[in-house]
Each structure stands twice: as structure tokens, then as C-alpha cells.
Amino acid sequence: MLSSMAAAGSVKAALQVAEVLEAIVSCCVGPEGRQVLCTKPTGEVLLSRNGGRLLEALHLEHPIARMIVDCVSSHLKKTVDGAKTFIIFLCHLLRGLHAITDREKDPLMCENIQTHGRHWKNCSRWKFISQALLTFQTQILDGIMDQYLSRHFLSIFSSAKERTLCRSSLELLLEAYFCGRVGRNNHKFISQLMCDYFFKCMTCKSGIGVFELVDDHFVELNVGVTGLPVSDSRIIAGLVLQKDFSVYRPADGDMRMVIVTETIQPLFSTSGSEFILNSEAQFQTSQFWIMEKTKAIMKHLHSQNVKLLISSVKQPDLVSYYAGVNGISVVECLSSEEVSLIRRIIGLSPFVPPQAFSQCEIPNTALVKFCKPLILRSKRYVHLGLISTCAFIPHSIVLCGPVHGLIEQHEDALHGALKMLRQLFKDLDLNYMTQTNDQNGTSSLFIYKNSGESYQAPDPGNGSIQRPYQDTVAENKDAWKKTQTYLKVHSNLVIPDVELETYIPYSTPTLTPTDTFQTVETLTCLSLERNRLTDYYEPLLKNNSTAYSTRGNRIEISYENLQVTNITRKGSMLPVSCKLPNMGTSQSYLSSSMPAGCVLPVGGNFEILLHYYLLNYAKKCHQSEETMVSMIIANALLGIPKVLYKSKTGKYSFPHTYIRAVHALQTNQPLVSSQTGLESVMGKYQLLTSVLQCLTKILTIDMVITVKRHPQKVHNQDSEDEL
């Protein structure tokens, strides 16, 4: 019974699923990618090249497929980009793993083991591999990034300190981004539009505040117009509200505006109160009073040069009438988002009609440059020239297109680009840390060496390099002390401290046994644990071997084991890493730093570089498992440029490009890319780690069991317990 509902979770099954997904995403990846038409359940049509959106639109049923989609969406939560590459890379990794099993299957067959038994054997083997993958991701990848790849990095900023955005770099970055997101006949136009938009909106050179505001209020800042060619899209100075004036009075000169959030006309009774009418005269006088009061308020506004009234509620006829009489234009029924955007731009709080009247100035008014109707394709909009009090100079994007589905795609892509840029800026803080990371990455290697090879004195050449970093170490330590005074400072622990601090952005996930997506918040406890682990290096090592042999099946334990094995591996890895700084380039490399907002040219540069260095690394590896993992990853990485260069022929085909790149690397020449455009290294790096995590997740599952209960409750991890 059970066997009919349970399917063996294997690499083969995962590969089949991933290949189907790959077939779909690979046709819309890269500059040659094509469009996919999605229909919504409502019948609307949407054009998309957004990998995350496509995977969601498929509503997949297969459990492994759903797990992969979950992994992609959690990756997208971290970095908004890379869903398509995720699938392709994962697929190639699985293919590589599958190829290994195929090779090794033949001897197994000869042994004539029962199929069931073989499955279990395979599973335990997969778990070894998944552990090796995790080790690679947490321990090796960072080193390779820091030591080798970083020298190829470019920066998006023209000056890293002031974070000044370089226009040409931003153009290249956006162009490469839109290449993968919008139709190929529009991507140049759209990326130019976006770039113009930023530089028109920014007051200062750095745009992080602007990006945040535009990202938060993106919906309010763009207007979609159907029925016009895409090339009619443009940027309009000022804010365009998707409303019409309910009263419009042309005005010029000194114009002021107020925002109201309630009706200006006083009402008979407010909520919770009671108004008792005793006579007809009372009713008439109160009506008269209301009228006179409204009139007086509007007159007062007029006397203060208020020419525009922006209201989040519908105002009564009386208010509109007196507004018109006093030459005040009225815009009503604004959404709360629109009101908050306006308030954010001009820093104005809502106007409250005063109870007692005085001729004093109304505090909550703001100057407006202009306010006029804007007609786009025979529909009227309100066009406001707000005077900004923040770093954002208000501009609106008018997006045109023949169909709504296309405009939606462009909107989606623009919003995605914004998030990507924000990410690039947000990573800046991390990057500043990685400046030391870069340096300490090497110093930590020495520490490994120290601990692994029983405090052997470093050779003189390295010692001289090490010294300046100990200065920075001391600095860091001071800062560190404030939060963690309980750390013992002795010769052995000082540098692990720093090593911890620097590795935290990367290595947090590995330190937590079950949850692979742990945040940095657990910093303190993690570092404690790490210290403990380092301190009790010997006992744990023992524990490892015993625990592993006896209780290899339980996941939590195995993860803990992994922790320890990581540390043991570090030791064994060291001789190799220690040689690296000695390879002639040590001096220049050490002085280089990973700048903020770093980027690489597009066209698979990142993948080819990492592939090259991984192969180099694998050659020097002593452990067969590590070599194997590195080789698999290195080869899988090439899958991405292969897809990108699929349609290219002759000199630009993939083999040619690859050989050229490898040759350039071997002879220390600069890489020449056939394509222009830049992409964020941070995004690529995060993609790589996400895929490796997803793969380890897949490999740890040995069986999938279908349970006929609430579908949302089916949890893959449960299946093992039920067995």
C-alpha cells in the first residue's frame, strides 16, 4: 500500500522535473530570450519573461517541482533576480550528479544487490554529497570569491566612498537587466527610460533614498496608457495623479495647496453624538451656520493663496461650489497611498479646518509650481508640479503599449530593476565589511593553518603580510568587545573573532542545523557557538566519528556532524589555501578590495571565471569528494553561458568564447566580453548559494509520500518520520 503512494526521491526524479522547467525558462533567458504569454484565471492575458512569475503561473503539482519553486521564491525574496538562471544551474548540477551515478551503477549491478537496498545505499551516498556541497558553499566558495574573482570585479560607482552613481555603468547595468525581462525590441528603450528617470529624479549623486521612495510608491508614480506604441512612453516632470479634477480653475502666480482628509463642510453630528432638533428655525439656522462656515473656510483658504485642495474623501457639493467661486481647484477621492506619497514629497501634514477663526496664516500649506489637467489618449489626469523637500524630484513615467499585458510587463520589469538597484545599495553595508573580509579572508587562512598544524610559525614572507591585518584585527576587536565582553582574548582566539565577523554574511546558514535561511540576527549566539566549537575542537572530532557511525539517519544529528566535519575539513584544506597567497600575485591581490556595488560584465563572465578557478582549485584538492563537488559545480556553471550563447555562431559561439576567456586567464590578460552590460556580483553569488542549498535539500530527501489530507499541510520532512 505504502509503496504505491510513495515515490523514491532520487536525483533522477528531480532531474526529470528540473529538465521540464529548464525547457520552459531557457527559452526566455538572456538577450535572445522570448516571451511567454500567461492567462490569469480571470481571462486577462499577461506577457512575461519573469522567471519567478512563470514558475508560479504553472501551478505545478509534482512535489519536487513545488519544492524547487519554493526555493526559487525564497531566493527571489532575498534577491529579486535570477529565477531562470536558478533553474538552469540546478538542472545542470543534477545532470552532473546523475552522470556520476550512471558511471558507478555498473559495478553495483554486478554485485546483484536488491533494488530496494540499492536505493538506500544511493540515498546515503547522496547525503554524503549533500554534505560536501554544503561544505563547499560555506567554506570554499567564499575563499575563491575573495581571492580570485574579486580582482575581476568592476564598480557601479564612480567613487566608492561617496557612492556616486556612474551614469554609463548604471546604463549598462540596467540594459543587461532589461535584456532578460522585456521583449528584445523594447529593452534598450525601456532601460534608457529608466536611466533617464533616475537621473531626473535625483538631487544628489547618490540615489538610495530616491530608490526607496520610488520603490515604495512605484504604482503611484507610473501611468499606463494602452493603444499607443511603446516608443511613446516618456517621463513627465511633476506628479501625475490618475484622477480628474472635480473642480478646475486655471491659476498662475503664487500657488499654494492644502491636503485634507475629511470633509471641510461641518456636519450636523459626528459619529457617536446626537443632534436634537427642537424647532424648524433651529434647523434653518444650523444649516445657515454650516453654509456660512464652509464659505468662510474657503474664503480664508483663498486669502492664503491656496489654489488647490487635495482631498482623500469626497467633498460635498457645497465645498466644490465655494472652491470654484474662490478659484480653488479640487481633486477628490485620492487613495491613501497617493496622499502619503504627496506628503512624503512635500513634507506637508493635512489641513484641519480651524474651529475659531482668525486671520492668521494657515500652517499646513505648500507652494506648487503648477497644477493642470493632463490629457493622455483622451483621458484626463491631474498634473501637479510639487516642490520637493526631500532628495526626490517628482517625475512620473508614462508607459505606453498596444496592450495592457505588455504595459504590465514593463511595469513589472521597472519595479524589479528598482528592487535590484536597492539591493545593490543595501549590500553596500555588507560590502564595506567585506573590505576587511577580503583581507581577513587570508589572515583567517593562516589561523586555520595554525590550528590545524599545531601552531606552526608562519613562514617569514607570509608573516610580513599578516602583520598589517592584525592591526585591523585589533580595531575590529575593540568594536566587537563592546557587544561581547565575555570573549576571552588570547592569542588563539583573537583572529577567529574577526574571521567570524567577516564570514557572517556568508556562513550563517550553515551554523544552524535545520533552517538554511537563517538571518544575521543570530550573530551573537552563533559566534559563541563557533568559539566553543573551535575551543573544543578535539572532543568534537571524536564525537563526530562516533555519532556519525551510529546515528547517521537522523537529520538533526547529521547536521551537527556536518558542523564538525566542516571544521575538520578546514584543517585539511589548509595546506592548499596557504599556498595561494604565495603564487606570485599575493601582494597586489591583498591590496585589492571588493568595492561596494561591484559588478561584472554580462555574458557568463561570472560563471566562466568561477569555473576556471574552481577547476584550478579542484586540481589541488586532495580529498576526492571535494574534487568531485568542485568539478560538478564548475561544469554546471558553464551551463548558463551555454544557454546564453546558444544562438551565436562562429567567433561568438560558446566554445570560442570559452577558449578565449580561459586563454586570457592563463596568460593574465584582461577578459574581453563580446556583450556590453553589467550584472551584480552579489546577485550572482547569492544565486549560487541558493541553488546549492536547494540541491542539498533535494539530496537529503529519500522518499516522497503522498498524503490525502490538506494539501498545504503536506511537508516533505514529515515523510521520514511517518516511515
Binding site: 527559452c27 526566455c28 535572445e32 522570448r34 516571451q35 511567454v36 504569454l37 500567461c38 492567462t39 484565471p41 481571462g43 492575458v45 503561473a57 504553472l58 501551478h59 528584445r184 525590441n185 494602452t226 493603444g227 499607443l228 506604441p229 516608443s231 456636519l267 450636523f268 453630528s269 459626528t270 459619529s271 457617536g272 453624538s273 446626537e274 443632534f275 432638533l277 427642537n278 424647532s279 424648524e280 434647523f283 434653518q284 444649516q287 445657515f288 453654509m291 456660512e292 464659505k295 460635498p316 457639493d317 457645497l318 465645498v319 466644490s320 461650489y321 465655494y322 470654484g324 467661486v325 489618449r377 498596444p402 496592450v403 495592457h404 499585458g405 505588455l406 544562438s647 490538506h710 494539501p711
Partner: protein, 570 residues
């Protein structure tokens, strides 16, 4: 929780354009639109099989809004044409046919979508820059000082909509009316930024088309009894108008979120009607002659006003409010209390009018840009079609005012453009290919597909089995009737080209449209006098056609670019 259902998986299809189903549905749509095209286009009758409204039309806007398409690709196609039509009114069928042709032609070639899309885009920009350039040989300037070209433009639109069922004489009459209605909306003393007025179309079904007319001002429809009750005003000066947007029915207005408690014996109705009468007294003392109200006027107030010889008309409706505000120069009054003196407006005169069986109250403006176009046609469906056509024509005139150029119609622009592209891609391919990875052969193939798509649009003008030719000098279109006897000497049968600019007096060479001919430079030098003297040109709106061309190519590119269709089945 228990109501949560797992979503059904979507249907995912690769290379949707290659499937038989998509091809057949596309060709069905193409057949529908091509058969409608042009003055001799066939009409389509749309009905739902259960009786009720029947629509007879050959216009894209009516056709596509009634058609129910289900395939996502067709949805994209029809949506983009509908969006084009709603922004430019004209050239919907042209766009639809061109788009279908492009998809069909390009698919036959089997080139990669990248190449196709890139080259299509180049060819499109070539067309656009040519049509916008000074050297363009298929557009003529529109002279607003004479009505001739404007009339040609309107007439071309009317004749291309056969479902209006107009005779030649009626066409002349209606085109003149449309032009008059348009000219009435242009303010007289306009400087710099002009704001056009509005022509309101008033329906009069069941009358002869010849009875249609244009009147300045606004017509308010009323029953005969109501009209009889209105007293004639004898006044030499302009009439003072008050326009209310708030209700005058005596409803107690919004009292807020709390409760209002009315003591026993207090009558709010009395209080409000007192208030209304006070308002009436103010109107009298302000010497108002005419009171218009968007909503309802209380009968007692109405009677009170009538007693004081003030005409009161209520239930005007929200659609007439804006034109009324514009025409009378009033400020819509939203108060029952004191009225500012500057919120009154004026009209020159009022009168009653009877057209057919309908009675109207006619407000005649002093000087305003609002006019009423009383449109008559024999039956409902023909009237609907005529109304759509009039709106199209008025819109086209507005667009022409913005961009004072017209394209030669009757298919001459398309053949001329095709000749130009053939010549350009043949003689100067380097300028088009510049830094691209496409080869010249690919360019030739795509250019041929593009040009033949343009020419097939023109080919669908002919529905009666006639032949279509093009001359080798101007690249214009010439057609031969099917029933003409087979003569060796073709030129004897050709009298005039499609747009009516050239006649066969000149020494011209002709070739059949779909036959291969060597590329030639289409000449553009037409004498200015010829344009002026030719009173019977067929013209197209430049703005609408340019956008139609762009939308057609963009949409075709979009559809050719599709690699998958994911249909959500939930």
C-alpha cells in the same frame, strides 16, 4: 481551512504559433477583417441567436467589441487593435489585416524570431521616418483655409463604411455637416493654446438622412406637454442662466455619522421648502431668466419660478453638465444659500424646435464652441453605424488639426511605401543593417514579407474579383473591374489611381501587384496644382495610420516572439 483547494495545474504549450489550431483561428480572423475592408467591403451581421439586438457593421470597433475570442494569442491581437481604435478611431481594419499578414508571411520564412523582430523593427522605423520626412511622396499638406481637402478626408471615411447605407448625395450632405460641426467647435479668437469645444450627437432615428442638420448650442429633449407649459420669453438682451448641480428637491442633505433627533411637531419638509422659496426669491431678485438643474427641482419651487416668468428645467443629467457649463459660462451651483453673482451665465436666446417626432428646447449660445449634430438615419443599426462613423470623422479632423497632413488613400500609400522599402533595401542595405548580425539575404527575405504584407492589405480592397495593378513611376494603385472585357491594352481600362491624384493620361508602365518586378524609386513630385484641382481625392488620416502601422508591427513582433503559452485553468 477545509475550503482551501489545491490549484489545478496550468496548461503549458510550446511554440504556440506552429499549432494548427492557432493557425486556423488566425486565418478565420483574417478572413473576417479582410472581407470588411474598404468601400466595397462586405458587411457582417452580429447577433446572439436568441433574438434581440442585431448589429450590422463593417467597422473594426463594432466588430471586435462584439466578437468573443478565447485563444490568448487572439486576445492579444484583438485587444491591441481595440486599444488603437479607441485612441485614434480610424485605421482599425488596416492594423488588423497588416498584423495578420505579417505574422503569416514571416512564419512561412522560418527565420529565427530574433532576426525577424529586429529587421521588422528596422523596416518599421524606415517607414515611419519616410512618412514623416519632407520628401515623402504619399502625403499632402492640409490647408485649413479651404474646405476642399478636409471634405475629401471626411468623405473618404464615410465611403469606407458601407454599413451606413448612404447614397452619394447623402454622403455629400453628411460630410458637409460633419465638417461644419467640427468647425463650430473651434473657438473664434484662439491664441496660442486652443481648447476645442464639443459636438453633441443627437439621435433621430427613422428619418431621412437628408434631414440631418447641425445647430449651434445645445438641444434638450422634452415632451411636447412640458414644452407647451414653458412660457415664451420676450427679451432683447441675453438671458441670465443659473445652473444647479445640487438637488433642489428638498431632501435633507447629509447629516453626518451621528444621529439627528427631530422633536415632535417639527417638520423638516417645511423648513426645507422655506429654504427653497428663499432661494427662488434670490433668483428673482438677481433677474435670472433660466434655471437649469442637473437633478430634480421641487414642484413648488418650479411653480414659484414659473409664476415669476422664470423657465425652470430639471433632470438635465450629468452628461450635459459639462457642455452646459462651457456654453453658458456658468459655475455649477452647489449651494441652497447665498449664490455668488459671478456664478451666473448667459445664453443668447432660447427657442423650441421640433425635428421629426421629437421636441427640443434649444439653447442658443452667444459665442461658444458647443454644437449639436442631429443625425438621422433610416433604422437603428444603420444609425448606430453612422454615429460611429461621424465620431470617427470628427476625431480624425481633430487629429488632423494637430498634425496638418493627410496621406493618400485608396491604397496608394501602401503600394508607394512598399515600392519605397523595396528600393531602399535593394539599393542601400548597409544603412539598414549597420551594426547588426543579420545578413543581406535575411533582410531581403523580411523586406519582401513586409512589403507583400502591405500590398495584401491593399489587395483586400478588391472584393469583386478585379485586378490590382501598380504603376512603375509613382507606385500608386490602379484597379480594373472584373467584368471588363479582356483586352491586350491594359491602360485603356485604367482611368484613375486609387487616391484619384493621377489619371492614365501620362505615359506610365503598370505591373500586377503580386508579380515580381524590379525595384524602382517611387517618384514623389506631384504638382501642387494637381492637389488643389483634384476635388475628389481619397485621403487617410496621417496620425491614425502611422500609429496603426506601428501597432500592427509591434503586435506582430510580440506574437512572433512567443515561445510558450501558459493557460491558467483555475
Amino acid at each position: 481551512m477545509s475550503r482551501l483547494e489545491a490549484k489545478k495545474p496550468s496548461l503549458c504549450k510550446s511554440e504556440p504559433l506552429t499549432t494548427e489550431r492557432v493557425r486556423t483561428t488566425l486565418s478565420v480572423l483574417k478572413r473576417i477583417v479582410t472581407s470588411c475592408y474598404g468601400p466595397s467591403g462586405r458587411l457582417k451581421q452580429l447577433h446572439n441567436g436568441f433574438g434581440g439586438y442585431v448589429c450590422t457593421t463593417s467597422q473594426s470597433s463594432a466588430l471586435l467589441s462584439h466578437l468573443l475570442v478565447t485563444h490568448p494569442i487572439l486576445k492579444i491581437l484583438t485587444a491591441s487593435i481595440q486599444n488603437h481604435v479607441s485612441s485614434f478611431s480610424d485605421c482599425g481594419l488596416f492594423t488588423a489585416i497588416l498584423c495578420c499578414n505579417l505574422i503569416e508571411n514571416v512564419q512561412r520564412l522560418g527565420l529565427t524570431p530574433t532576426t525577424v523582430i529586429r529587421l521588422n523593427k528596422h523596416l518599421l522605423s524606415l517607414c515611419i521616418s519616410y512618412l514623416k520626412s519632407e520628401t515623402c511622396g504619399c502625403r499632402i499638406p492640409v490647408d485649413f483655409s479651404s474646405t476642399q481637402i478636409l471634405l475629401c478626408l471626411v468623405r473618404s471615411i464615410l465611403t469606407s463604411k458601407p454599413a451606413c447605407m448612404l447614397t452619394r448625395k447623402e454622403t455629400e450632405h453628411v460630410s458637409a455637416l460633419i465638417l461644419r460641426a467640427f468647425l463650430l467647435t473651434i473657438p473664434e479668437n484662439a491664441e496660442g493654446h486652443i481648447i476645442l469645444g464639443k459636438s453633441l450627437i443627437v439621435p433621430l432615428k427613422g428619418q431621412r438622412v437628408i434631414d440631418s442638420t447641425v445647430l449651434p448650442g445645445i438641444l434638450i429633449e422634452m415632451s411636447e406637454v412640458q414644452l407647451m407649459r414653458l412660457l415664451p420669453i420676450k427679451k432683447s438682451t441675453a438671458l441670465k442662466v443659473a445652473l444647479f448641480c445640487t438637488t433642489l428637491s428638498g431632501d435633507t442633505s447629509d447629516t453626518g455619522e451621528g444621529t439627528v433627533v427631530v422633536s415632535y411637531g417639527v417638520s423638516l419638509e417645511n423648513a426645507v421648502s422655506d429654504q427653497l422659496l428663499n432661494l427662488g426669491r434670490q433668483l428673482i431678485s438677481d433677474h435670472v431668466d433660466l434655471v437649469l438643474c442637473q437633478k430634480v427641482i421641487h414642484p413648488s419651487l418650479k411653480q414659484f419660478l414659473n409664476m415669476h416668468r422664470i423657465i425652470a428645467i430639471d433632470r438635465i443629467g450629468v452628461t450635459l453638465m459639462e457642455p452646459l457649463t462651457k456654453m453658458t459660462g456658468t459655475q455649477p451651483i452647489g449651494s441652497l444659500g447665498s449664490i455668488c453673482p459671478n456664478s451666473y451665465g448667459s445664453v443668447k436666446d432660447v427657442c423650441t424646435a421640433k425635428f421629426g417626432s421629437k421636441h427640443f428646447f434649444h439653447l442658443i449660445p452667444n459665442e461658444a464652441t458647443i454644437c449639436s449634430l442631429l443625425l438621422c438615419n433610416r433604422n437603428d443599426t444603420a444609425w448606430d453605424e453612422l454615429k460611429l462613423t461621424c465620431q470617427t470623422a470628427l476625431h480624425v479632423l481633430q487629429l488632423t488639426l494637430k498634425e496638418p497632413w493627410a496621406l493618400l488613400g485608396g491604397g496608394c500609400t501602401e503600394t508607394h511605401l512598399a515600392a519605397y522599402i523595396r528600393h531602399k533595401t535593394h539599393n542601400d542595405p548597409e544603412s539598414i543593417l549597420k551594426d547588426d548580425e543579420c545578413t543581406q539575404t535575411e533582410l531581403q527575405l523580411i523586406a519582401e514579407a513586409f512589403c507583400s504584407a502591405l500590398e495584401s492589405v491593399v489587395g483586400s480592397l478588391e472584393h469583386d474579383g478585379g485586378e490590382i495593378l501598380t504603376d512603375m513611376k509613382y507606385g500608386h494603385l490602379w484597379s480594373v473591374h472584373a467584368d471588363s472585357p479582356c483586352v491586350a491594352n491594359w491602360p485603356d481600362l485604367l482611368s484613375q489611381c486609387g487616391c484619384g491624384l493621377y489619371n492614365s493620361q501620362e505615359e506610365l508602365n503598370w505591373s500586377f501587384l503580386r508579380s515580381t518586378c524590379r525595384p524602382f524609386v517611387p517618384q514623389s513630385c506631384f504638382p501642387h496644382e494637381a492637389v488643389v484641382s483634384a476635388s475628389n481625392l481619397t485621403l487617410d488620416c496621417l496620425t491614425a495610420k502611422l500609429s496603426g502601422l506601428q501597432v500592427a508591427v509591434e503586435t506582430a513582433n510580440l506574437i512572433l516572439d512567443l515561445s510558450y503559452v501558459i493557460e491558467d485553468k483555475n
